[in-house]
Symmetry: C2
Subunit: 333 residues, 2 copies
Amino acid sequence: MSELRKDPIVGKWVIISVERGKRPSEFVRKSLPARSGFCPFCPGNEDKTPPEIIAYRPTGTPPNTPGWTLRVVPNKFPALRIEGDLERAGEGVYDRMNGVGAHEVIIESPNHADTLATISEKAFEDLLWAYRDRIIDLKRDRRLKYVLIFKNQGEEAGATLEHTHSQLIALPVVPKRVQEELDGCLKYFNYKERCIFCDIIRQELLQRNRVVSENQDFLCITPYASRSPFETWILPKRHTSAYENAQKNEYQSLAQIFRDTLKRLDKVLENPPYNFMLHTAPLNHGESEYFHWHFEILPKLTEVAGFEWGSDFYINPTPPEEAARFLREATLE
Amino acid sequence: MSELRKDPIVGKWVIISVERGKRPSEFVRKSLPARSGFCPFCPGNEDKTPPEIIAYRPTGTPPNTPGWTLRVVPNKFPALRIEGDLERAGEGVYDRMNGVGAHEVIIESPNHADTLATISEKAFEDLLWAYRDRIIDLKRDRRLKYVLIFKNQGEEAGATLEHTHSQLIALPVVPKRVQEELDGCLKYFNYKERCIFCDIIRQELLQRNRVVSENQDFLCITPYASRSPFETWILPKRHTSAYENAQKNEYQSLAQIFRDTLKRLDKVLENPPYNFMLHTAPLNHGESEYFHWHFEILPKLTEVAGFEWGSDFYINPTPPEEAARFLREATLE
């Protein structure tokens, strides 16, 4: 079983994943395995993944057979596993617990060549529903504190399989980055009695220079302190802190702006590798006045190097105002 | 001039570097410039860098001419500049200041083919003295709060020039990651009345399973909650919080263990790309009872992907105990 270990100085948790255990030789670049033509996520290969958790498929088709349009399966090499107890324990100055959690893969399309920018708006909306369905299901497990949904697109962004997919990791602790956002939002709320994201949305809609696009329910911006070139956020205009509580029409609206944003990034940056992640309230928080869920999209264009590792300070060579202008002015078919 | 912008939610600063300004086309991978054979850091090309700040060279040789063994020059494309006032200002919900600071390059050897694992122990010691000399000089500028010294070795770790060099960025704020360490150390000190790093050193010397090597003055370990495979720390055994206050013999001792560690990493991982950074006390802190300076070395073997970006949670496939054993057992010539 994997182990969760806490950095005793800054309080950050790390997953020491024994099941993925790597020997030094596996890290040496020249020994990276060659890509085979076989894809475990393509229809017909359903038996090459663990049995599906949910799938969107025509009624009457049996599980783990072709016909599906979206499929959620456990990760075959999970960083965390759902079985077992946390068993928090100390070891001198250090703290650990068992790697209890969930690690799932959301296969976004049956077609190997698709990307999130090429699937239909309906398929994108289904994906957003799948995220919601999984959060609601995992919430019932009281050991879990947070569900992080994310996507790695392209090898440089960490994808190890080409077939378009997102991932979900459910954690027994609230991750540090999310806790920092919650703390920052609460500090602002205690001072101003307003949600900081709501204030950001108001200011961006007035200034307009970092707005990429908007629709009735959502706003897409390049954030003021973008960590990397073309960092892009998508936020609901209405104050709401838990993704799974969105209205039905909002998932449709989100699919429209999210897909449009990815198309714009693909156009301007010529199909860049990217990561995105959903920041939503912790599982047991429910709706709060101070937090506001959103997606963060980070094209992988620069390297995290010594300065960034050492400082958590980022150097961004592209002002977000310029990035927003390029994205806004991109002409899409 | 570059601009420093503060993330209004988590309080992290970002350098929006206008002088390095990049257009979208420059990020598209296929248009990366081909490497030319010319190296601005090689002897004879001293006029291709800004004039040297310091150099270790035979007495009598004029500045900016060959003969040097180590040379410190301003970065030609600095993220921050030494001229100007901070001019902290607000813009609605956002905060900014001017990009005042310093960005220097430490050229570690005149020989293009050298690495820090191949230079002599004397040359390594000189490098450690150069770090000290620069910190002491920059400390006199009261606008500066922190000097971050770091190295990017190899293209995958963010190096853009091959010729072996470290970098130094002096900042008008204490970076978030360092502040978190300071806060964590102080919290521990307030509770235990001991330095947490001193406690870690004591525990590691007893347990031995994460010790790579030690000498009279320093200890090299793979940290308990290593963020990535083969993360390695070098710490002074004696409690001391400011790098620049080390004893003369300690720089010699550090050169020995640091060079040995890099040789071990090169041997076990076959010359991996890596980053290292010095974490020392902020410039105006002086010696404190609760902080303990150290170097962190991070081989670049895994990608920072969506999960890590979204959570600041790391998945490490190699237990540090295994990494330490491989490094300890490596046979060096």
